[in-house]
Structure formats: structure tokens, C-alpha cells
């Protein structure tokens, strides 16, 4: 084959493939074009405020964690009747979206233990979304970082990359399915707190916020960081909740030095 024949064959192949592709494209039915996120939703930037000074007033309370487990089918594999050995072995499979952790100072041994509520921080620059090879984990235009479980391949890169240890992987199948309106993720996908996006999208409040307000602590609030006095802050009146406009406290975030720009603010972070 000389050069002319090669070029003719190559050009013909490219044209043939192009024609086939164009034919498939024009003959394929497009059911609907994605209408995309409404500008009203896009204008929001969902964040969270956790007032630990209020949370401290109810030691031993676990309303937020239990509400999250019930709403989002987040499974525990440890059982209350387990021996310490069994518990030590099974704890690694437990799933947590929201956690209430007790921290003790190493430097000041006399200092009392502190309680911190940990959730996914829905960072402005989320490492998990950056590393996801298939963009199953992504940051939505309204600021929520969430997982499309149909697309997740279970590589766990996001779990590794989160500096806040907020993400989990479903290592095992679980039968914990209290809320049938919400899917129970199967073994093999990664996930984390998504600020109850399925509720926020329907103008309802996240489960943890609702539970904390009902419990009386009113330590959690979720709302639009672009509009801190606006109506998109849960819990809504008449329920009580912390607000970022409160001048008595200075909001702090976890590991601000990392540059992830987390969107969960704390009052009373030790």
C-alpha cells in the first residue's frame, strides 16, 4: 500500500465512523433534555451550624444520630448485648453519617472531656469529589456533596481522601431498613451524610435538625450560607435553633488550614 492508498483508507474510515455516529445520534430518541437545576436552587449554598455549647447541656443525648439512622437507613452492626470482644471486632463495620465523639485533651489531663458532633462538612473544595474517578461523588450546584450510588464503583478513593473521616464504605450487606421511602444502599458503594438532600429538595428539614429541636437542645441548624438571615434555615420558626448571625459566638470550622473550605460551622469548638 502506498501513501495515497493509506490516506484514502484512513480518511474513508474516519468518514464512515463519523457517518455512523451521526446516524446513531440522529436516530436515537432523546427522551428529555435535562432541565438542570433551577436558578433558585443554584442560588443556595447549603451549610450547617452546630452549637456545641447547647449540645453540651444534654450529655448522653443521641437524638441526632438515631434520627439519622432511622431516616437514612444507616446501619449498625454492633448490638447492645455484645461482649466487649465481640464489639471490638464488629465496630469496624458500623456505619456513621453523624457522630457524637468525646475528645480528651492529651496536654491538659485535668481538662474535662469535650463533645463534638462530626458530619460531612460539604466542603467548598471537596477532596472526595476531586478524587472520584467516575464523578459518582460530586458537589451539587447548591453546595451539597453527595453520592450517586448508581455510578459509584466502590474504589473507596473518596473514603481515603476525606480529611475529616466523614465518609464510609458499605463493607457488608445490611438489613437495616426502617425508612422504606429511602433506598438502603447495598454492599459495595461509598456514602456519607448528604444533609438529607432528599428532604431539603422537598423543602423539608434534615432528620438530625428536626430531632435535636424536638429533643429541646436545638443545637443543630442547616441552611443557606448565602442568606444567613433568610427563610431557608432549618429549624424554622416557631422551632428554635442556632443562627450564624448570633453575635455572641465566633463560628469556627474544622481544620481550616487544609484549604477544603468546610461548610459546617461550630460554636464552642474546643
Amino acid at each position: 500500500m502506498d501513501r495515497r492508498e493509506f490516506l484514502t483508507a484512513a480518511g474513508g474510515t474516519v468518514l464512515a465512523i463519523g457517518a455512523w455516529g451521526w446516524g446513531v445520534d440522529s436516530l436515537t430518541t432523546r427522551l428529555s433534555d435535562r432541565e438542570g437545576m433551577t436558578s433558585e436552587r443554584k442560588s443556595r449554598n447549603w451549610g450547617m451550624l452546630i452549637d456545641l455549647t447547647r449540645c453540651k447541656k444534654k450529655p448522653g443525648c443521641s437524638a441526632c444520630t438515631e434520627a439519622c439512622r432511622t431516616e437514612n437507613n444507616v446501619a449498625l452492626f454492633t448490638k447492645p448485648d455484645m461482649t466487649p470482644e465481640q464489639r471490638a471486632e464488629t465496630e469496624q463495620w458500623d456505619n456513621h453519617w453523624i457522630r457524637k465523639v468525646t475528645i480528651k485533651s492529651k496536654a491538659y489531663e485535668d481538662a474535662p472531656p469535650e463533645t463534638v458532633i462530626l458530619v460531612c462538612n460539604h466542603c467548598e473544595e471537596p477532596p472526595c469529589a476531586q478524587v472520584c474517578p467516575v464523578q459518582a461523588t460530586f458537589k451539587r450546584e447548591d453546595g451539597i456533596v453527595l453520592v450517586d450510588h448508581h455510578r459509584c464503583i466502590g474504589c473507596r478513593y473518596c473514603v481515603m481522601s476525606c480529611p475529616y473521616n466523614a465518609r464510609l464504605f458499605n463493607w457488608k450487606h445490611n438489613d437495616h431498613w426502617p425508612n422504606k421511602q429511602y433506598p438502603n444502599r447495598s454492599h459495595g458503594v461509598a456514602e456519607s451524610c448528604h444533609l438529607c438532600a432528599h428532604l431539603l429538595d422537598r423543602d423539608q428539614e434534615p432528620a438530625c435538625v428536626r430531632a435535636c429541636a424536638e429533643e429541646g437542645a436545638s443545637a443543630l441548624a442547616v441552611g443557606d450560607l448565602n442568606n444567613r438571615t433568610g427563610p431557608d434555615w432549618y429549624p424554622k420558626p416557631p422551632k428554635e435553633g442556632p443562627r450564624l448571625t448570633d453575635t455572641e459566638h465566633t463560628p469556627k470550622r474544622l481544620r481550616e488550614d487544609l484549604g477544603t473550605e468546610p461548610k459546617v460551622y461550630y460554636y464552642g469548638l474546643p
Binding site: 427522551l31 435535562r34 432541565e35 436552587r41 451539587r140
Partner: protein
Amino acid sequence: MTTSVAKRRPVIPILVVLLLIPPVYSAVARGASGGRDPSTIPEIEADEGVTCIAPLEKMRFHHMDILKEMRIDGVRDGNRGYKASPDQPRTDYTFENCRECHESRAAFCDRCHLAVNLIPDCFGCHYYEEPGDG
């Protein structure tokens, strides 16, 4: 390149004939209309006057695309529910609404899917209440 001295056989025509046997057989065996085995036709328990969100042919061939669009619109854009076309309002649809007519998965989804042996992995995560469930 030397020309082979072996007997030249019409390989490609023979292959084409062999490959065409399955579709020709199924077309002839089931009749020219490709008549369906009745056991693969789903049972639909629709009330009088209730119509599905989309016409039959669209649902039959594109229900998986409709579900995919609902997922993408809901998860990625926050637009939960179903929108039939750009000029129609968005309805707050979930699987629950499909169940208003299609009450039993065994009589509906599974009949076609088991018959064609194309079993999607929906119900490991999504709940589809059967009529007998508590």
C-alpha cells in the same frame, strides 16, 4: 504474498447464513408479528380512568431511561419527581406512585425481566412493597 493452492471455500457466505438462523427462526416460529409469549406480558391493575405517566410503547421501551432521567434530575439537579415533557409540570413521583397501578413486582416487573433473563439490580436497594407485606 503467494496465492494459496488449497480449495477456496465460500467462508463468509456460510457464516452469514449461520448467523441469520436465530433471527429467522424466531421470526418464523412466533409469527411475522413476533407474537409475545403470554407469560411475559405483565399484569396491570389499573383503575378505570387512570393512565400511566407515559404511553405504553414509550414505557415498554424506555422505562429504564425514564427512571434514569428521574435519578439524574433528582440527585444531580435536586428536581425530584417526574416531568413528562418540558411544557408539563413536574409531579412528585416515586416508586410509590407506580405501585398505585402495578401492585406486585412479581406480576409486573419480574414477568418480563425473568422471561428475557435481563434482571436489573433495583430491589437490593429500592423498596417495592408487595401486596402481602406488613
